[in-house]
Amino acid sequence: MAAHDNARYSRERAVISEVLGSKLDAAGVQSALDLWDRKFAGQKSVPLIEFVNEIEAVQALEARERHELRLALYKGMIQAAAGPTTTAARATTRATSPTRPRVEFKGTPAEIVFLKIVQYYGEQLRVLGPAVMQQFLSELRAALEERRMPGMLGDAMATVAMRGAVPDGVQWGNTARMHMLAQGLYVAACKAAGPVQADRILLGAVNQAKQLEAAKVFAPSQFL
């Protein structure tokens, strides 16, 4: 590879790290970089839509956020192709901590317990690998569609599962609705990882949620 290609390659990676780093955690960014290296690096014309669609962690984001990411990447890549930028110069280090910052959930006790359960599903399924996680997210959307739940709730749950963060302005609804959403989680986990794993995760999620202060007001078993 020529020297200027190497420089451009570094700049492109820096752009990816910076842009995706605003939305994803370190593991998600690393996974995207690996995908870039494996499949897209060195191409004259980069299919950004394809690239973004193939980043597993991005699938958890809402459509609007995915669009913003693509746009930011597009702008960054143009700069990276043109020459050295401050962005590229900055991006020589990567975050290495695999741990995700713990998010304190806010809302009613039922919502806090519910969100903890969703987060636990995400944590456990991520351990099983990106293919399982991707399958889970797709099954989750299908399960919620089957239950005639608004699509935005599926997107929001995916975000909680993937990033532990809650998108703004989500109305989770009453306990009955959250119960149906939690059931969708189990069905999706069954289909993505198998019933044995799903049972294990389900029990783990309940036990985790029992540790919460909110669990004293709202018993996690009420969802299940």
Partner: protein, 433 residues
């Protein structure tokens, strides 16, 4: 038009024909009656074996449900067989296709009553084969109704072709010399084909197969229970096959010997096969090997030499193992392996009874008749059972809701859990509050 007329004739005959007084010499000898009664008790005990086997094969959260199904199919099966099935199977059979007398029988001799008890246990066995295949996802009420259809109609009508009548007339397969001594096809294949139909209508358990068809293992909760269940079934089979002599005479010895040899050969065959395939020698597969051998020898246990009983049991092993593999490829979820063991091995055993007949090996005429009987069993039982379960599905929904699968059918169907002191990790903790 002709079918309509035949149906009319049968219906009229059922209500107007007087039942022939009694079966000629049916268990009139007290020793015969005692032997068949003891055998009936042994076949009844097989229900306990099935309960342990199926209960062990499922997850803890579905144990009560599957054992309740075993109880239910025994109870509704006994009643349905007494009221309807016995008449269809053993009542006077002038057409060769169906019995038309002895419905809701009350006036029976001691021998006939003992014979009926023995046959009731067979009918319940055919029904209980289904419960293992559909475990962990079928609703209880739908299953109980299905069991009535199996014991009241599907099993006895085919049985009338082979074993009918106990009184007057005989079944069309019996007339052709079809050999099925104790029911490889009549009981086991019929039960297996009904199980196949039910499993197809139900679909697999949630998440049993991955998106590309990969199989997810769902281990049973108690393998010791599975093994104990098969020991009990093996014991019960001595009554199942031995009692089918309907006589306390020396022929029992050969029947019991062949039964025992085939069961042992089934286990050894499975172990050798699994080793040759470089698969782990699982207890679940090994004990199913015993059942495969037992099912297979049931047809020919009274009519083949012991060496062929060993061969029959030995060949049943790969049929059960590869049959199970085939079903998984087809994404049919059979929790306990009932379809390959009872359906496929029942068919094999019936063919083996013709191939290894001690009056003359490999007779083309006999083999053709055996194949005819095997095919007739499938063509009768599978479509009818499919229609039956699909029909129940329209009215009742046979499949449990996914939330029920999540919580376990023990709790959602029966408000109980199998091991309340140990299942403290259940989300609902076995409580309704």
């Amino acid at each position: 038009m002709r079918m309509k007329r035949l149906a009319c004739c049968l219906a009229i005959a059922a209500f107007t024909l007087p039942a022939t007084a009694s079966a000629q010499g049916l268990l009139e000898n007290p020793a015969d009656l005692i032997w068949v009664s003891v055998s009936a008790a042994l076949v009844f005990f097989m229900q306990a074996g099935f309960a342990l086997l199926e209960g062990g094969f499922v997850r803890t959260k579905n144990t009560v449900n599957v054992i309740m199904k075993n109880y239910a199919d025994l109870c509704v099966g006994v009643l349905a067989f007494w009221a309807l099935g016995f008449g269809l199977m053993f009542g006077d059979n002038p057409s060769g296709w169906i019995g038309v007398t002895h419905f809701v029988p009350g006036d029976l001799t001691g021998g006939e009553a003992g014979f009926m008890v023995f046959q009731m246990m067979f009918a319940a066995t055919a029904a209980t084969i289904v419960s293992g295949a559909v475990a962990e996802r079928m609703r209880f009420a739908a299953y109980a109704i299905g069991a009535v259809a199996v014991t009241g109609v599907i099993y006895p009508v085919y049985g009338s072709w082979v074993w009918g009548s106990a009184f007057e007339g005989s079944g069309w397969l019996s007339e052709r010399g079809f050999i099925d001594f104790a029911g490889s096809t009549v009981v086991h294949s019929i039960g297996g084909w009904c199980a196949l139909a039910a499993a197809i209508v139900l679909g697999p358990r949630l998440g049993r197969f991955g998106p590309k068809g990969e199989v997810r293992n769902i281990p049973g909760h108690s393998l010791p229970s599975v093994a104990l269940g098969v020991f009990i079934l093996w014991l019960g089979w001595f009554g199942f096959n031995g009692g089918s002599t309907l006589a306390a005479d020396a022929s029992i010895g050969k029947v019991l010997l062949n039964t025992n040899l085939a069961a042992a050969a089934g286990v050894v065959g499975t172990m050798i096969l699994l080793t040759a395939l470089r698969r782990p020698v699982l207890i679940t597969s090994s004990v199913n090997g015993a059942l495969a051998g037992l099912v297979a020898i049931t047809a020919g246990c009274g009519s083949m030499e012991p060496v062929f009983a060993v061969l029959t049991g030995f060949i049943a092993a790969p049929i059960a193992v590869f049959g199970g593999d085939l079903l998984l490829k087809l994404r049919v979820d059979d929790v306990v392996g009932a379809i390959p063991v009872h359906g496929f091995c029942g068919a094999w055993g019936t063919l083996a009874a013709g191939l290894f007949l001690d009056e003359g090996l490999f007779q083309p005429g006999v083999i053709t008749t055996q194949l005819l009987g095997i095919g007739a069993a499938f063509l009768w039982a599978f479509p009818l059972a499919w229609l039956c379960f699909a029909g129940i599905n329209v009215v009742l929904k046979v499949r449990a809701e996914s939330i029920h699968e999540q919580r376990g059918l023990d709790f959602t169907e029966h408000s109980e859990v199998g091991y309340p002191e140990f299942q403290t990790d259940l989300p609902h903790a076995g409580r309704n509050d």
